[in-house]
Amino acid sequence: MVIGEGKPIKDILFMIENYSKIILAGCRGCVTVCSAGGEKEVGILASALRLARQNEGKEIEIKEVSLERQCDPEYLEEIRSFVDEYEAILSIACGAGVQFLAETYKKTPIYPGINTNFIGVTQEQGVWTERCQSCGNCKLHLTGGICPITRCAKSLLNGPCGGSSDGKCEVNPETDCGWQMIYDRLKELGKLDQMEVIIPINDWTTSRDGGPRKIVREDLKL
């Protein structure tokens, strides 16, 4: 899922400084699961903003909503009926949701209340870690199910590099070396010969290098 975390309250207050009536929109998708933008966070952020603004003597009216998913057009319609009554929307969905809202409601300024960080997993309650950089060209079958693009700080396709020591990465000694993990996993699977296969230079056009990406499924289109 997409993992995000709340922006500092100071930054948010600065963004909405000039408004006195806003919609605070959460999302019931990924950001609810990672406790960054669900209904609970909407409630907490709204109270924090109200308190801060009350303190400044500039009271603010906040309409609290939680949309089913901000990345599907139908769900964005949930706020259509009252959106014009407000001066701005503060969305705490991921970057995709924020943008999609902006595209849908052209006249209303949209502000992001969270930072979208990565595609990852719940390591344990309260801990999330990155697993995928959506490069568009999956190589997990070659690397024992561990992504070298994400897990190696240098995204090396043929590692490890000289900076791997005691299983840790030279970029950050707290980080496990991705290629050490790949080696260990392949060893466990009895497929160490895989280490000898040279993975050719990557085609990054499927990733960010080819500009914003698009998938069209003719079989699904209406």
Binding site: R28, T32, S35, E39, K40, E41, S66, Q125
Partner: protein, 1083 residues
């Protein structure tokens, strides 16, 4: 009755009531100085003046002495009254300018400085109100003091200005004096004898009427007739005048009541051993030698020094504190041969708490063996030693010497090198043991039950709660010294046996309560009734209750308000019910004491009036307001208003909740067919309940199969055979052997368990209301000391088998070495296996019995023959068994030299290395839990790190698991000997019966509810629930079964999608409460 009007408000009072009391009834406060409830009013101070505006005698009059008349009209707030009162205070203050009470009154009424000049140069505190004189004369019938002289030299004094010889030093004059002018030392040379508080170990004093101890049941004060002036001199009687509910009854006498009962449980507890038995420690002579119980009180925040650690001689904070263990325990010189079982741990606890109170304290514990044999105790002991720096020195102390000047104490001991060292301590605590009290010995005699030579109740190891007389059972430390978990568990065990005898009569004495149907309040606007309680003077004396009541009236949705002297009284309940009906109320708020004790009462009352019991809110304006803000009355009243406003706000949002009644399946499932499992199954079946007993082996018996004799009994195998026979032949017991539990669902009262049973591994499902886990433990197979490599190395269990089966010719065995703590008390398995010390002694004695010439060595770390087992340790030493201590760091070395076993160990007593060549090396191996991980996962049961099942509360709920309806006994809980397992099995039976005895269980109410629409299936609730209740259902949303939910609210607080609400504590209620707290409405 008489009707009068005070400040325009009408009030009806009994004839003879004074205007002061009538005003009090209306909540109008009139200041007084010389008024004392128990004395005839005299109107001496004139502070209580009021203006009589309508009646026979008009004008200013002292309200304390003015008896109310019909039609009387009184003003307490007129200008004339205020002026008069001001003058009174002004003049009093002029006489006694330094009295704080008068300064306060002056400030209240608005006098900043006196208008007159003071000519009297000397300090004066007495306002000549005469209260002291009247108390001494009227109440105490003594008359030690009176007024002497006239005019400006008038004063209170004993006759002829001499010390009074008749004064009884009761101190009443000092207590009643409003200005603190009386000093008993100036009245008499007779020496006051303060009454020592027994609960505070006589380190503090108490009055003649007192609560015996803070947790007394029932929690009512008692009068000490030995010291009460009423009983001694037929005097005083003040408490009777004060007590609002008129609860004081001087003529109460002890009653003899006869009860017809079917069984009796003895739980008379213990006494501390008398410290004077060990005169060499100087208790009574040296003030800074205290008993462990005295130190316990010293540590307590409600104790004699308010929790500051002080030494009795000079109230200074001690730095070096020593504990001496085994004072009056393990000591045949004072006929206390047994171990008291608890002192090692309580000394450790006291040392830790002392250290936490004042980090400068350096605790030292002098001990013989550390007996940390309870569950988790060894870890606690290690924490004390390693993290808290408690110094443990193994040495028996022979005497204490006091340094006369500093009152410090010198202890001589032998250090690790074997040298005698003297060390000075500021405070010494004697760890006293337990002993049966004289009264319990007398009780035993009266009941005709046998006691042992120490006076403990005689039982046998296979019937640990049965006394020598049928129908009479015993529990707790009267049976043998024991710690809280064993005591609590044994108490339940004795209840099982006691109720088994009379199980046929179960339920025959119950009166069912019947309620009228609940009124449907849906669609109604909230109509809230508010009842504000005075709680006598508990609240009313601090908080302005009438003002709170008036304020409540002004709040939204409030339809009715009232105040009561005692809202919990029976007549108030009747009144509340009437009021609810007359005013069509649909919510009730009581502002009084704590919901902890009183919510159920009020909930029952409103239910009787036809309201759902959840339509109720309570504001705690006593414990959380009047009691903690006694000296700030105005602020306390404000806070009480805040609390009431919050409760009303929440009440507007409370909704009726339904509890569901589900029928209870009257059958038990017992998992495990060892001693505990079989005993539990039989216990339940003998109570009349069906039992399914599942054993994974092909035969019943478990560990009992390997046990042939204990220290107390030889016939274990016969016992096992009879147990198995009884289990197999009991018509209510279904035995499933070769069975594996494969699925488990349900909740208390309604469980379903799937079992695959041999030989064909057929599946069957058992429906049951309760589950007892008795999966047991087993002897650890050692990997150390050549075990498995040499046939001469064996475990205690194997040795026992070989002895019984005559596989060893003990006549030819000259030397045996036993090593203790094999696999126990090591970093991988940090617990004590509890039973190996006695197992070793048991087998060693057996060897000695068969071959007295043989030499038996037991290499140990601490010998843990706790309780009455200590006698066998003594017996073993007398039989010539040699005990050698070793350290974890210096484990014995075992090797084979020229075909012979060789054991080397450092003997600290000799200070030399000992080399032994035994023919047998017996390892006292640890007890480990049997494989139970799968079962724990299936049933969602918590386990300790070591894999034993974890009970709901180590001390207070020792056989309950966190999931309701599942209980625990035997080795599955922790290592323990047979008698304790049996006692625990009975405890599990007892706990299970509390559920099985009911036809239905009530579920729901204050439980969590999921809104599936909002659920993001994030699993947060599943992860945070401490009881493993939420799960993701087939519809793909979280589900919480009302029957399993404990209502803790963790899931509701954590749910990121706000899909979970805890009913009765919903967000809207809590938010309404918080908003009400911060938005003060103007009144």
């Amino acid at each position: 009755m008489v009707n009068l009007t005070i400040d325009g408000r009408k009030v009806e009072v009994e004839e003879g009531t004074t205007v002061l009391k009538a005003a009090e009834k209306l909540g109008i406060k009139i200041p007084t100085l010389c008024y004392f409830e128990a004395l005839t009013p005299q109107g001496a101070c004139r502070l209580c003046v009021v203006e009589i505006v309508g009646g026979a005698r008009r004008g200013l009059s002292a309200s304390c002495a003015y008896v109310a008349e019909e039609g009387l009209e009184v003003r307490t707030d007129s200008k004339r009254v205020i002026e008069a009162r001001k003058l009174v205070i002004e003049l009093l203050l002029l006489r006694c300018p330094d009295v704080p009470k008068l300064q306060e009154l002056a400030e209240e009424i608005g006098i900043d400085r006196a208008r007159y000049e003071r000519f009297k140069p000397e300090e004066e505190k007495c306002i000549l109100c005469g209260l002291c004189v009247r108390v001494c004369q009227e109440l105490m019938h003594v008359g030690a003091i009176n007024f002497v002289n006239r005019g400006s030299s008038r004063k209170v004094s004993p006759p002829f200005d001499e010390y009074s010889s008749v004064c009884v030093t009761c101190g009443a004059c000092e207590v009643v004096c409003p200005t603190g002018a009386i000093n008993l030392d100036e009245i008499t040379k007779n020496i006051p004898r303060p009454i020592k508080a027994d609960f505070d170990e006589r380190l503090a004093t108490r009055p003649s009427i007192y609560l015996t101890f803070p947790q007394a049941v029932p929690k009512v004060p008692v009068i000490d007739r030995q010291t009460c002036m009423h009983f001694l001199n037929d005097a005083c009687g003040a408490c009777e005048s004060f007590c609002g509910p008129k609860a004081i009854k001087y003529d109460q006498e002890d009653e003899v009541r006869e009860l017809d009962v079917g069984s009796v449980i003895l739980a008379p507890g213990f006494e501390l051993t008398n410290p004077s038995l060990k005169d060499e420690y100087g208790y009574n002579r040296y003030p800074n030698v205290v008993t462990s119980m005295e130190f316990e009180r010293i540590l307590s925040a409600s104790g004699p020094y308010q929790g500051h650690i002080q030494r009795p001689s000079d109230q200074s904070g001690p730095e070096k504190v020593a504990w001496i263990q085994c004072v009056g325990s393990r000591d045949n010189s004072c006929d206390k041969g047994y171990c008291s079982s608890v002192c090692c741990m309580y000394a450790t606890k006291e040392a830790i708490i002392a250290k936490e109170h004042s980090p400068d304290i350096k605790p030292t514990i002098f001990y013989m063996d550390i007996r940390a044999h309870g569950k988790g105790f060894d870890q606690y002991y290690e924490r004390a030693r390693d993290d808290y720096g408690v110094r443990y020195i193994q040495c028996q102390i022979s005497k204490i010497v006091e340094k006369p000047k500093s009152k410090n104490l010198i202890i001589a001991f032998i250090d690790k090198e074997g040298k005698v060292v003297e060390e000075e301590f500021d405070l010494v605590v004697l760890s006293l043991g337990m002993t049966p009290s004289t009264s319990s010995r007398e009780l035993a005699e009266k009941l005709g039950i046998e006691t042992d030579s120490y006076g403990f109740c005689q039982t046998d190891s296979l019937n640990p709660v049965k006394t020598s007389r049928p129908g009479v059972f015993v529990c707790g430390s009267f049976e043998a010294p024991k710690d809280i978990p064993e005591t609590v568990s044994q108490a339940s065990g004795s209840a099982a046996f006691a109720s088994e005898l009379i199980s046929e009569a179960r339920g025959t004495l119950i009166c069912e309560e019947e309620f009228s149907p609940e009124r449907d309040i849906s669609g109604e606007e909230p109509r809230i009734g508010v009842f504000v309680c005075h709680c006598g003077i508990n609240i009313g004396g601090v908080v302005d209750v009438p003002a709170v009541k008036e304020y409540a009236k002004s709040l939204p949705h409030v339809a009715y308000v009232d105040e009561n002297l005692y809202t919990c009284s029976q007549d108030t309940q009747t009144k509340i019910k009437e009021v609810i009906k007359e005013n069509n109320l649909n919510r009730v708020v009581v502002a009084s004491c704590t919901p902890r004790t009183h919510e159920p009462l009020f909930q029952k009352t409103i239910r009787e009036a036809g309201l759902n019991k959840y339509l109720f809110e309570m504001a705690n304006i006593r414990d959380q307001c009047s009691w903690v803000h006694m000296d700030k009355k105005e602020e306390a009243t404000k806070k009480a208003k805040d609390l009431v406003r919050m409760a009303i706000a929440a009440a507007s949002y409370v909704e009726p909740l339904q509890e569901q009644e589900l029928s209870v399946t009257k059958r038990a499932l017992v998992v495990g067919g060892g001693a505990s499992g079989m005993a539990a199954a039989l216990g339940l079946a003998d109570q009349g309940f069906e039992v399914a007993l599942v054993e994974k082996e092909k035969e019943l018996g478990g560990n009992l199969r390997h046990l042939h004799y204990t220290l107390r009994d030889d016939g274990i195998q016969t016992y096992m055979q009879s147990l198995i026979e009884r289990v197999k032949n009991h018509p209510l017991i279904l035995v499933i052997t070769d069975g594996v539990i494969v699925d488990f669902t349900g909740f208390k009262g309604n469980f379903k368990t799937g079992i695959m049973a041999g030989p064909g591994m057929a599946y069957r499902q058992i429906e049951h209301g309760v589950t007892i886990i008795a999966t047991g433990g087993e002897e650890y197979k050692p990997e150390e000391y050549l075990y498995g490599q040499d046939k001469r190395v064996m475990t205690q269990q194997e040795l026992e088998g070989k002895i019984v089966r005559d596989e060893i010719n003990l006549g030819h065995v000259n030397e045996v070495v036993m090593i203790q703590c094999v696999g126990s008390r090591i970093p991988e398995r940090p617990y004590c296996s509890r039973l190996c010390c006695s197992a070793a002694i048991k087998n060693a004695l057996k060897i000695k019995e068969k071959n007295p010439q043989s030499r038996v060595f037991i290499l140990y770390r601490d010998i843990r023959t706790y309780g009455l087992l200590e006698d066998y340790y003594t017996k073993a030493r007398k039989a010539g068994i040699i005990f050698i201590r070793y350290d974890l760091e210096e484990k014995p070395q075992v090797k084979i030299e020229k075909g012979a076993l060789q054991v080397e160990v450092d003997d600290p007593a000799l200070g030399e290395r000992v080399v032994l060549n035994p023919q047998l090396l017996v390892l006292s191996s640890a007890i480990v839990p049997r494989e139970n991980e799968e079962l724990a996962t299936l049933m969602k049961l918590q386990r300790t790190q070591e894999g034993f099942f974890l009970e709901a509360h180590m001390k207070l709920r020792p056989v309950d698991l966190a999931t309701e309806g599942i209980y625990l006994c035997g080795l599955a809980h922790s290592p323990k000997p047979l008698d304790e397992s049996l006692s625990q099995a009975a405890a599990a039976v007892s706990r299970a019966c509390t559920l099985l005895a009911h036809d239905t269980v009530s579920v729901g109410g204050m439980v969590a509810r999921v809104d599936g629409e909002k659920c993001a299936v994030c699993l947060t609730c599943v992860r945070v629930c401490p009881y493993d209740v939420p799960f993701i259902n087939e519809e793909g949303v979280a589900q919480i079964d009302a029957a399993k939910c404990q209502g803790c609210g963790s899931c509701a607080a954590e749910c990121p999608g706000k899909a979970i609400q805890l009913q009765h504590c919903e967000d809207k209620q809590i938010i309404a409460k918080s908003i009400a707290l911060f938005k003060v409405e103007a009144v």
